[in-house]
């Protein structure tokens, strides 16, 4: 059994995890940077937070899994996409461990991590994957060695929509849970733009309208309710189109926003309608974590992927459809 350390630091979360080649997540430690309510993540402040907690988080992850540095076969880090300063903290620590222990350094694409950790938990073999998080909103499937984009947001992500609106409303960030609770108390659907373009969606207009209605004094509960109903329906519709277009028989929902029950309910409905199985990443692995990096790093390492330290740059704008996936047959 091989063990790998994974380090995540793309945005607000600094996480570390030890995963084994048996697919066990033997530890999963994180520290989340919380900006004051009404404010977003400043990249430098996130990086300072990560630097402060990094040593403790990594030590804790090793301790929880009863693993010494010497037992690790490799160290994986999230190389992008994300906030440059935040990414560099995780990468620096991974490089140091790689040098110190003389083990390979494995760059992992954060989004591929979200996908792989969901697939580890489900039995899906050839799914259509919906990835919804702060950095991504896309509908993807593996075709000839890469996760190809079948639909995505044309502007901001679903996570952006939720967090930006929450910021306007003075709620703490990340705000997904808070918005969901408020939405459950809302009753009235506010008239807001519903924008589906083929398999793509667009959320920037919806955000503008939500902010305006909030300033007009429309109740926050009704606005959260409408945000979910309209924003999620749009993505569900685009996903249903992709399901029909690709004919896939498995649908997997992953990423931070996947934790939302209402979104799960909608996606489950279309899966059943198209006789596809539906699975969703577990609550604890939906948000950013070292686990997604460790596990994906292990898969990549198995295909001989590693990077020399001098070329181990971070890639803040790395697209996931550029990444070769040699460990999966498609």
């Amino acid at each position: 059994m091989e063990k790998i350390l994974g380090i995540e630091s793309t945005a607000h979360t600094f996480g570390a995890c030890v995963a084994s080649s048996l697919g066990d997540i033997t530890s999963d430690t994180r520290s989340i940077f919380n900006p004051p309510p009404g404010r977003g993540i400043h990249p430098r402040e996130a990086a300072q937070h990560h630097s402060r907690v990094a040593a403790a988080v990594v030590s804790q992850a090793l301790k929880e899994s009863k693993t010494s540095l010497g037992e690790l076969v490799a160290v994986a880090y999230s190389a992008g996409p994300g906030l440059g300063p935040a990414l560099r903290v995780g990468a620096s620590i991974a490089r140091a461990i790689s040098l110190w222990s003389d083990i390979p350094l494995v760059p992992v694409h954060h989004a591929i991590g979200h996908i792989e950790i969901a697939l580890l938990e489900t039995s899906a073999r050839d799914p259509l994957v919906v990835l919804v998080s702060g950095g991504h909103t896309c509908i993807t499937a593996l075709v000839e060695g890469r996760w190809r984009v079948f639909g995505e947001t044309e502007d901001i992500t679903l996570g952006n929509l939720v967090d930006s609106f929450a910021r306007e409303a003075g709620l703490p960030s990340p705000a997904g849970r808070e918005i969901e609770v408020l939405a459950s108390k809302g009753k009235n659907l506010v008239d807001l733009p519903y924008t589906v373009k083929g398999n793509d969606v667009s959320y920037s207009g919806l955000l503008t309208f939500l902010k305006e209605r909030f300033r007009d004094g429309v109740g926050l509960e009704d606005l959260c309710f409408s945000l979910q109903e309209i924003g999620f329906s749009m993505l569900t519709e685009a996903t249903e189109r992709a399901l029909a277009h690709t004919g896939k028989k498995e649908l997997v929902l992953t990423g931070g926003v996947a934790a939302n029950r209402r979104l799960q309910q909608m996606m489950k409905w279309i899966a059943e309608e198209h006789k596809a199985t539906f699975s969703v990443v577990s609550q604890k692995l939906s948000g950013d974590s070292g686990a997604q990096i460790a596990w994906t790093g292990l898969l990549a390492l198995g295909s001989g992927i590693s990077i020399p330290i001098e070329r181990s740059f971070v890639r803040p704008r790395w697209r996931f459809d550029e990444v070769e996936i040699p460990w999966r047959k498609s």
Binding site: G80, H136, V149, F150, E154, K197, D200, S233, R241, R317
Partner: protein, 217 residues
């Protein structure tokens, strides 16, 4: 409607509509019924379905006026969100792309580009240009599924329309994506002229770079 519509049978379930084949005044027709989507709130769902039904019927008709082959609309039953239209074919471009020869592929995509050009020239944006929404009948291409279409002369909207097709080519037909796009652009240019085609194409690439996480941006 039921009196004249006969021999109706379900032939397919699309993403948003059930498709039936039937006869109507002795003609072979396709019946497209937008079905309720229970994941959406009922009020929202009803609004969307009814709008798209009326809108699609109008766009199909207007597209024809631009010279683009589309199914003829025979009847719109708004309360039932149903359109009765001419049956074209079950052969979609999507399945044919990989089996046809290189010359035919180029010719088909050039023709598709010409049709898109005519549509844009007439002030219509298709809104869902995928290879599933192009039918082939007696050596001619027909555009269908205009429910997401809009009326616009804006270069941005035209660019988005073409960009959508480019994305479909990359995800579903990536081996032929570049060749197919080149053919589409060539056909498009035939319909709208060189300078217009150029500005729409340029906008399409700008939209492509605008996507999330593009290194060269």
């Amino acid at each position: 409607m039921e009196k004249v519509l006969a021999h109706v049978r379900l032939v397919g379930k699309g993403a948003e509509a059930d498709l039936f084949l039937g006869t109507w005044h002795h003609m072979r027709v396709l019946v497209k019924k937008r079905v309720p989507k229970l994941y959406r709130l009922q009020a929202l769902d009803a609004r969307i379905r009814s709008f798209r039904t009326a809108h699609e019927a109008r766009l199909l008709q207007d597209a024809k006026k631009c010279g683009v082959p589309t199914p003829t609309v025979y009847l719109v039953d708004l309360p039932n969100t149903t359109i009765v239209m001419e049956y074209i074919s079950k052969e979609r471009l999507k399945e044919r792309v990989s089996t046809m020869g290189g010359d035919e592929r180029s010719a088909r995509f050039t023709e598709l580009g010409e049709n898109i050009g005519l549509l844009h020239q007439g002030g219509i944006i298709h809104g869902d240009l995928t290879t599933s929404n192009v039918l082939i009948k007696s050596n001619r291409l027909y555009l269908i599924d205009l429910g997401l279409g809009t009326y616009s002369e804006d270069v941005e909207d035209r660019g988005v329309d073409l960009h959508l097709l480019w994305r479909v080519l990359q995800s579903s037909h990536h081996r032929f994506a570049k060749i197919a796009l080149a053919a589409v652009v060539e056909g498009y240019e035939r319909s709208v002229g060189r300078s217009r085609a150029h500005s729409v194409e340029e906008r399409m690439w700008r939209i492509d770079r605008r996507g999330r996480y593009i290194a060269e941006r």
